[in-house]
């Protein structure tokens, strides 16, 4: 599949990717490298993984990162309870032929966590490692072996190699600098806020029942809002919410009712300070530009 085919097939699945992004996906899949997506929150990094799993008709394995995430909750863990039970049961049998060690450290007693699960699928799954910047730096080190060799080494059991190489998507909101070692193993793409045309296309595709004139006004307003001096700039997700709210309230034109317009801005502005900056007058001005 060439990159433009990826772009069009993603389009058919309601995901509108920029050319740069489509190319990055194309390269990442062909070179079997993880794709590292950075960018502001709410511009469709996670949604891309969901759509790719639909496109390749494969399962999506998601690992949401958080502080304190460790190997036992991401890669594997032994099922201690089951091991204990098994030892108890074998005590009564007095059967010395079976070595108990071999038995309790077998695959049966291994709990697969997302990363190991991604390696043991028959069909390459999409592995989404979401918001990796929230995890600790040590966690990145765990990832290195898995992402470069596609294998997991378990001391008691041996090395488990991937049955099929997963397509790995890593997202980061840039709340901390990722290590160079990880960055270099990845195909990199920085996802910007969409340009006017692209955002309009997305809006039309996702909410087709809003007419073109209103969509244009909505996109214009949001684009103008992003230029303003506000703390939390609205992403695409917010634009879509707001558009849905406006059409739900029956507005046909942004200039119809500025009172309603201002009250719907809760969908776009997410902090108290931002709400104070965008007063009804400012909102009116932004709608008119």
């Amino acid at each position: 599949m060439q990159w433009n085919e990826i772009k069009t097939s993603l389009y058919d699945l309601d995901y509108i990717a920029s050319e740069e992004l489509a190319m990055s996906i194309h390269i990442a899949i062909n070179l079997e490298r993880p794709l590292l997506l950075e960018g502001e929150a709410g511009i469709g990094k996670t949604a891309l993984a969901l759509t790719l799993s639909k496109l390749y008709k494969t399962s999506l394995i998601r690992l949401q990162c958080y502080e304190g995430l460790d190997a036992s909750s991401t890669i594997y863990e032994w099922n201690y309870q089951k091991q204990l039970l098994s030892i108890r049961l074998n005590e009564n049998k007095n059967d010395n032929n079976v070595k108990i060690d071999d038995q309790i450290f077998s695959r049966e007693f291994l709990l697969e966590r997302p990363l190991l699960k991604a390696l043991t699928q028959k069909k390459s799954p999409i592995l989404l490692i979401d918001e990796i910047d929230r995890a600790d730096e040590e966690f990145e080190a765990y990832l290195l072996e898995i992402l470069s060799e596609y294998q997991v080494s378990i001391p008691e059991y041996g090395t488990i190699k991937a049955l099929s190489k997963p397509i790995v998507i890593i997202t980061s909101n840039n709340t901390r600098d990722l290590s160079d070692a990880l960055r270099r193993r990845c195909i990199y793409n920085y996802v910007y806020y969409p340009k006017k045309e692209l955002e309009l296309e997305i809006l039309q595709k996702k909410l087709p029942n809003i007419d073109l004139e209103l969509s244009m006004q909505i996109v214009n307003f949001v684009q103008n809002l992003r230029v303003q001096d506000i703390e939390k700039k609205p992403g695409i997700a917010e634009t879509l919410d707001w558009a849905a709210a406006i059409s739900g309230l029956g507005l046909k034109d942004l200039s119809d009712n500025y009172k309603v317009l201002h009250s719907t801005l809760v969908c776009l502005l997410k902090t108290e300070a931002d709400k104070a900056i965008i007063s009804p007058e400012t909102a009116k001005k932004l709608a008119k530009i």
Binding site: M23, I27, L84, T175, D180, R185
Partner: protein, 398 residues
């Protein structure tokens, strides 16, 4: 940016690609062998005849952070597109220039205002004698400027001698140690903790029929703190700035996650420059970088820039922001307070070191300083080395 080497002989695409990676390397991209290898592999999967495909593929492979991603365009154009010249734009510029020439025959083409609208590459092509004269003037002034800079460099060497450097380093070590960890009241499981974790002992003892065979322990966790330093290098701080740069450089050396920003009328991030091993070299490099700017101090504006661009990424509850400035501000003091409030909302500790505070009878009269003091966790003098050395105690308490 360094100019790419021009090739007279047409070579294979592979060797050109290798040359390009060298070009990127020369321009500050840390390209690894693996990335070169992946680029070569990537060739198979794209349409080589389309330069845009070529560009976005190479960008995905060779870039590794936001900065490189942003700069890639320019680098690529300078190498593959003959110095960034595009045919259409060139034609247009030519026409524009001709028009201008007809209109203002007597004036030089590159009068200052129009010079700005023309891009560099065009100006190279359309030099006439007047412009050459203008440019030679420019280079002359550059030469004198660098001559002065050289002088300053030697001054600096005398300013920071080895003894002083070592004393600063010792002070830095102690300060860094005192804010290395965040204090926490919560207890977390730990192998060699100081308290017994009764809850865990009981629950785990179930496996041994209620006998607590294994003792589990817990203790207060050590959470590493990150230091962000914002250093004022405006005229009024000039006499101190070299010492503080050395101080800051020491902090970076001890804790690699330390972030450093300099400001006078605008803010710039210099963390990467300070990762140089040789202190003197690093300090020199930075003073060269910032020598060009002078004038007033805009604390508020710089803090705003910090809040908008960097604080979201680098400041959280586990951060100590150290601002080193004398508080004399040519901008509005209202902004300083606003921005400090915003910064404080990120739940960080703010420390303001003010060299003037060490002076006798000094009260923070500068309006910015007054506005700021409400949001500070520590406001301390730092005009002598002793002050820096004594900071340790106060920093432990915040």
């Amino acid at each position: 940016m360094l100019k790419p080497t021009k090739f007279l002989v047409r070579s294979s695409i592979k060797s050109r690609l290798l040359d390009f990676t060298h070009h990127m390397y020369a321009n500050g991209f840390n390209i690894t062998f693996d990335q070169v290898f992946q680029s070569l592999r990537g060739l198979k999967h794209i349409d080589l005849s389309n330069i845009n495909d070529w560009k976005s593929a190479l960008r995905s492979i060779c870039c590794y952070n936001f900065q490189t991603y942003e700069n890639f365009d320019e680098l690529f154009d300078s190498f593959w597109r003959n110095d960034g010249r595009k045919k259409t734009s060139l034609e247009r510029k030519k026409n524009d220039l001709n028009k201008n020439n007809k209109n203002k025959n007597t004036k030089s083409i590159l009068s200052p205002i129009e010079g700005e609208t023309l891009s560099n590459e065009a100006s190279n092509d359309f030099l006439n004698e007047d412009n050459e004269a203008e440019i030679s003037n420019e280079t002359k002034s550059k030469i004198t400027a660098s001559y002065i800079e050289n002088n300053r460099k030697t001054d600096l060497k005398e300013l920071i001698d080895n003894d002083l450097q070592q004393r600063i380093h010792a002070a830095v070590l102690r300060i860094a140690k005192s804010i290395k960890h965040k204090r926490s009241r919560r207890l977390l499981a730990k192998k060699k903790g100081e308290k017994l974790d009764l809850r865990k002992i009981v629950s785990k003892s179930l496996a041994y029929e209620g006998y607590p065979l294994k003792l589990y322990k817990k203790s207060k966790p050590k959470k590493p703190m990150r230091i962000v330093t914002i250093l004022d290098i405006s005229g009024s701080m000039k006499i101190y700035s070299q010492i503080f740069l050395t101080f800051v450089k020491g902090l970076v050396g001890i804790n690699q996650s330390t972030e450093v920003y300099l400001f006078h009328t605008r803010l710039m991030r210099v963390t990467d420059y300070l990762k140089e091993n040789d202190t003197l070299k690093a300090v020199n490099r930075i003073s060269m970088l910032t020598e060009g700017f002078s004038g007033g101090t805009k604390i508020g504006k710089s803090l705003k820039e910090f809040n908008n661009v960097y604080s979201r990424n680098f400041v959280n509850g586990k951060t100590v922001v150290i601002i080193i400035s004398d508080g004399y501000d040519t901008g509005s003091s209202k902004i300083v307070a606003e921005e400090l409030e915003k910064l404080k909302k990120r739940n960080c500790k703010i420390v303001w070191l003010n060299p003037l505070l060490g002076w006798e009878n000094y009260a923070p009269v500068a309006s910015s300083m007054k506005a700021a003091s409400k949001y500070l966790d520590l406001f301390a003098p730092c005009n002598t080395l002793e002050h820096l050395e004594n900071l340790e105690k106060e920093l432990i308490e915040i």
